[in-house]
């Protein structure tokens, strides 16, 4: 140790001191040495195997992926809350309480610096998750763009988790604080979810509840009212948590503590306001609406120019968001369409039905006594209507998005609908009509099952004629014809077949 005389640095006056620069340097130190930093790679690995993997397996629709990002924040936020609580208890754990107390910066300012370091890293990490998901979606999606409100709620939730966890750790330092805070942070959003399931609207303030329903952002616009209420609530939580840190006597001077009290009070008011706003929310067919933040002008359905595939017997046109599903859907519908293409009554085009938001989202609010109560959900089946006839598919079917899921939902019903629309001209089908229908369905690749009336069919089977019956024999005979011959016979005899004037023996 040297005793060499050194010049005593002149003590800066209050006017020349640069607290902002010192604060930035303090923050830089905290950022470099934050507990969260070395754990981020582990957190990334965990998310890669859990949330991110699930997100990227969902349909590549911007609204779906945006909503996933909001819900994903539960896990990240909980771990951040636990680590923030851990950071807050650092001084006691490392026995530096006296040292830092004897320094002149207020305790509150020191705490804010260490909290800010944890929060900045957590928010940057979440931003990286958003980037990964949105970059992947940008490569896969064919229409639309991100709904930024949803990850914004997620980011606000991250900061709120961090602030609340830090406050807990500061006031209740102990070896169990960090894990209990993490578990509590995993639990807390679920309280809102459970409340929502019990028709308690205030529960929607939870970041685990998002404002979207099936079709949001694709067929009808996203209404940000609930997201706004959630952000107001989360901002209130942040302010309250950081404000209470200034309450202890050691936190700082009187004015600083008063400022902290005001901030905490403002936070509580904001949180209450957010919860109250969410409490007025309603689940409508087009999503969650907060009346105070909703304008009727935003209820218009989204207009779009259909994307069409002309490779099948008739054009198949869908919302451009489902462009990637066009080839598969066209291939799925072609076997049935090609049997009857060009015949009277056969659909000349396949497209999505316009429908109401309720038809699209599958949510229909039932009312009893003037108040919304029971919610019924219905999925519309394929229909043929119009002149010339058009096959309409329900948009709600496509929101499952993969062809395999669509074929599961549709089953054989679309083929039956197409063929019956052409063959049947009267309510009670004649034996010849049933035989031709069976033949066409068989040619379209469907499995016919002969079952007694009232028996449930298994798998994707359709009811067919009794094996060995004259109808079955005629159907087999007709199905054995080349496709061109079948089509030619139908062209020549369709009118008579529909009128019921064709007998089984007259079928080619």
């Amino acid at each position: 140790m040297t005793a060499a005389g050194t010049s005593v640095p002149s003590r800066p006056s209050r006017l020349t001191r640069r607290p902002s620069l010192a604060g930035w340097r303090l923050l830089r130190l905290e950022l470099r040495r934050s507990t969260l930093l070395p754990l981020l790679p582990l957190l990334a690995v965990l998310l890669a195997f859990t949330e991110l993997r699930n997100d990227l397996s969902h349909p590549p629709l911007w609204p779906v992926r945006s909503a996933d990002l909001q819900v994903q924040v539960e896990l990240i936020g909980a771990i951040v809350a636990g680590l923030a609580a851990w950071t807050a208890a650092r001084d006691g754990r490392r026995h530096v309480t006296d040292l830092v107390t004897a320094a002149c910066w207020p305790q509150w300012v020191r705490q804010l610096a260490s909290w800010a370091a944890v929060t900045i890293w957590a928010t940057l990490f979440y931003a990286a998750c958003i980037a990964v998901v949105f970059l992947a979606t940008a490569r896969q999606a064919t229409w639309g763009g991100p709904i930024w409100w949803l990850p914004a709620v997620g980011a606000a939730a991250i900061v709120a988790f961090s602030a609340a966890g830090f406050a807990f750790g500061a006031f209740f330092p102990g070896r169990f604080t960090a894990p209990l805070v993490t578990v509590g942070a995993l639990f807390a959003p679920q309280i809102g979810v459970l409340a929502t399931q019990r028709n308690q609207a205030w529960g929607r303030v939870s970041p685990a509840v998002n404002a979207t329903v099936s079709g949001t952002g694709t067929f009808f616009p996203f209404h940000p009212g609930l997201s706004i209420a959630q952000i107001v609530f989360l901002a209130g939580v942040i302010a309250a948590a950081l404000g209470v840190l200034a309450w202890p006597a050691a936190a700082g001077g009187r004015w600083l503590r008063r400022a902290g009290a005001m901030i905490a009070l403002a936070g509580l008011v904001a949180a209450g306001a957010g919860m109250a706003l969410a409490g007025t929310s309603r689940l409508e067919a087009e999503g969650v609406i907060v009346p105070a933040l909703h304008t009727a002008a935003s209820d218009r359905l989204i207009t779009y120019r259909s994307a069409c595939d002309n490779s099948s017997a008739v054009p198949v046109c869908l919302h451009p968001a489902f462009r990637a599903q066009l080839p598969g859907l066209a291939a799925y519908l072609d076997p049935a369409l090609s049997q009857v293409a060009g015949l009277p009554g056969a659909p000349v085009r396949v497209q999505l039905s316009r429908g109401t938001p309720g038809d699209i989202s599958g949510i229909n609010i039932g009312s009893a006594g003037g108040t919304s109560s029971a919610i019924s959900r219905s999925i519309g089946g394929p229909t043929i209507s119009g002149s010339p006839p058009v096959l309409y598919l329900s948009p709600s079917l496509l929101l499952n998005s993969s062809v395999a899921r669509i074929s599961q939902e549709l089953g054989p019903s679309v083929a039956v609908t197409i063929i019956q629309a052409v063959i049947y001209g009267r309510p009670a089908p004649s034996p010849a009509q049933r035989a031709v229908e069976a033949a066409l369905l068989k040619a379209a690749g469907l499995r016919l099952q002969a079952v007694p009336p009232g028996t449930r069919l298994s798998g994707n089977g359709v009811p067919g004629p009794e094996p060995g019956s004259p109808v079955s024999a005629a159907a087999n005979r007709f199905a054995a014809l080349p496709a061109a011959a079948r089509h030619a016979w139908l062209t020549a005899h369709l009118a008579a077949l529909r009128a019921g004037r064709i007998t089984l023996a007259e079928i080619a």
């Binding site: 140790m1 003590r11 130190l29 309480t97």
Partner: protein, 247 residues
Amino acid sequence: MNVEITDLTRRFGRTVAVAGVNLQTGPGVFGLLGPNGAGKTSLLRMMATVLPPTSGSLRLLDRDPVGYGPRKEIRRRLGYLPQALGYYPGFTVAEFVEYFALLKDMRPAQVPGAVAIAIERVSLGNKARAKLRTLSGGMLRRVGIAQAIVNEPELLLLDEPTAGLDPEQRVQFRALLRDLGNRATVIVSTHLVEDVGAACTEVALMNEGKIVFHGTPDELTVRGEGHGTGDAPLERGYSAVLAQARA
């Protein structure tokens, strides 16, 4: 006078750690001796403004630390090394000293230079970038001294500063103390009477919360002539005063 203590008392429950201490001291090195549990650390902590007194008055650097503003000004001019030094293991030596330099409201432009000087003064210049968890106990103690002196304090409080230092380091530390004492009030609490003899211009001896001797090291030595037990004159004076206080 940088330190003016009048009838200062501190109780922990029913235990009286500091019992009506009166003390005044100015620039120089002031040694605080006493057996375990005498109240030295509690007195030092009160002077460091981290422990409020139960009663009595305390003025540090012409300010009353009860008020927030004056307390803040005192802390800006204070250096404190506690007996049990905690640290953040992941910090480097330079970062740890820098952290406290910033917390003591040093001008940011001055901090890097002050940190470098403080680290050099404790002979840890070659360890500036070493993580604290890699240092020995004695080196950690020197890091603690560095953070205490980084802001060139007007009041420097050191509790057992030479614990863990090797003899060579202790000699150098005493020279540092003498140098610091030219400009500031340095109060050193220690069990090592040779540290007091070598560096201090004044010494007080505490026993059971009270000051039982206040004078120069030479006066303490005189008290031990022909009376106390010990291997060195100062030790004999120390034990003689204690024996008299306990009698």
